[in-house]
């Protein structure tokens, strides 16, 4: 059983392209654009944070805050994704200003933030030890 030479050459070249090309990029980590590296959703969700807003009351009581309710943004499922997502600690702190206004003078609002970082998982960014209602 002897395959035609043209077929052998064409098949071997194509096989090398589809098999060795991606492996070469995976192993060497070199960026050769002609070869596609099969990395999917590697950075998906890495620019998103989880936040916990809380109100610190006199006497040490800590009450979790729901920013949607406090700012009357409407039911969760109707809020646009852009509003639901907080992408970094600075944006999280930015949400505190209208919340402080809503709670009135002497409010003490804090936010604990952890953000996605691709392969390193969730990373704590702020621990909620700063009163965001006090202008610095």
């Amino acid at each position: 059983m002897t395959p035609p030479l043209g077929r052998t050459v064409a098949a071997t070249l194509l096989l090398a392209y589809v098999a060795i090309g991606p492996a070469y990029r995976h192993i060497t980590q070199r960026r050769v654009e002609i070869f596609v590296q099969w990395k999917m959703f590697r950075y998906f969700g890495s620019d998103v944070c989880q936040v916990k807003f809380s109100e610190h009351r006199a006497g040490g009581e800590v009450v979790p805050l729901n920013r949607y309710e406090l700012l009357e943004l409407g039911p969760w499922q109707e809020i646009p994704v852009r509003t639901r997502l907080i992408k970094n600690p600075r944006k999280a702190a930015g949400w505190a200003a209208p919340m402080c206004d809503a709670l009135g003078p002497d409010a003490d609002i804090r936010v604990a933030t952890r953000c996605g970082s691709g392969r390193r998982g969730w990373l704590a960014k702020t621990t909620g030890d700063v009163n965001l209602c006090v202008a610095e």
């Binding site: 395959p3 077929r7 052998t8 098999a19 002609i34 999917m40 997502l85 999280a92 998982g121």
Partner: protein, 279 residues
Amino acid sequence: MNPLRWLWRLYVEQVLCFEGSTRPVSLLRIAIALLMWSRYAGHTAHPALAHTPDIIALNVLFWVSTTAMLLGFQSRWAAGLAGVAGLAQFYWQGLHLGVEALHVHHVYTLGITAALLAATPCGGSFSVDRWLALRRAESRGEAAPPEWGPLWGQRIIAVMVCVMYLGTAYEKSYWHYLNGNAMEMAYTTLYLGSDVPMPPVAKALTAASSGVVWALEWLLPITLWFRRFRWVSIGLGVLMHAGMYILIPVATFSLTMCGLYLMFLDPDEVHRHIDRALS
């Protein structure tokens, strides 16, 4: 036996000299043409969005080649040109011109599959080519030509699928994927938003499903080749891709992968099943 000689013999027998019914590759030809339309229609390949000569030329090539590919007219040429158009959308528009929506794996997968189909007798069945061949044979008083041909291209597509799974499995081999954190980030972005923590049960399910996907992506490139495990593997693969299709925005990728499983089936068995279904 010398292992290199054994490997070469396997390559010759199972790839270079592999022959069979043209039906699976023809079915994939139709599926890929429809998926390419589905991916690009109303998007970058829409005539209204083409403003420069290179994109207009690319769009003309795309529509003419994919139409011929779908109908099966000059099928190998059509598939090859559709592959060129698909890969140009990935490399030229996506990578060079910076259209992010086109520099994604599912665009590449469609383009490269179409291009590789040109190395198969993908017009041998369910095509205008087949109809013309039958008409020619009839007018000459000859027997109908068999739906049969060399299928080394089918094997190369199957190898590509395996490499794809191995690459994605390798990339998922880190702790924060396996413990569900990576998918929790995705679901936070897509569904929950920043304020709503994932419930513990959902978190456990996310970790478990991440582990299952990771394990399957390592296993499928092996089990898909063995007749004994093939149908179970395809069933689990389809379930996995269906889950991805529903939960995360993978566009045409899931359906493309399901179509690509045709490349692992015994072509003659597919032929017989279709005959039986149509009789």
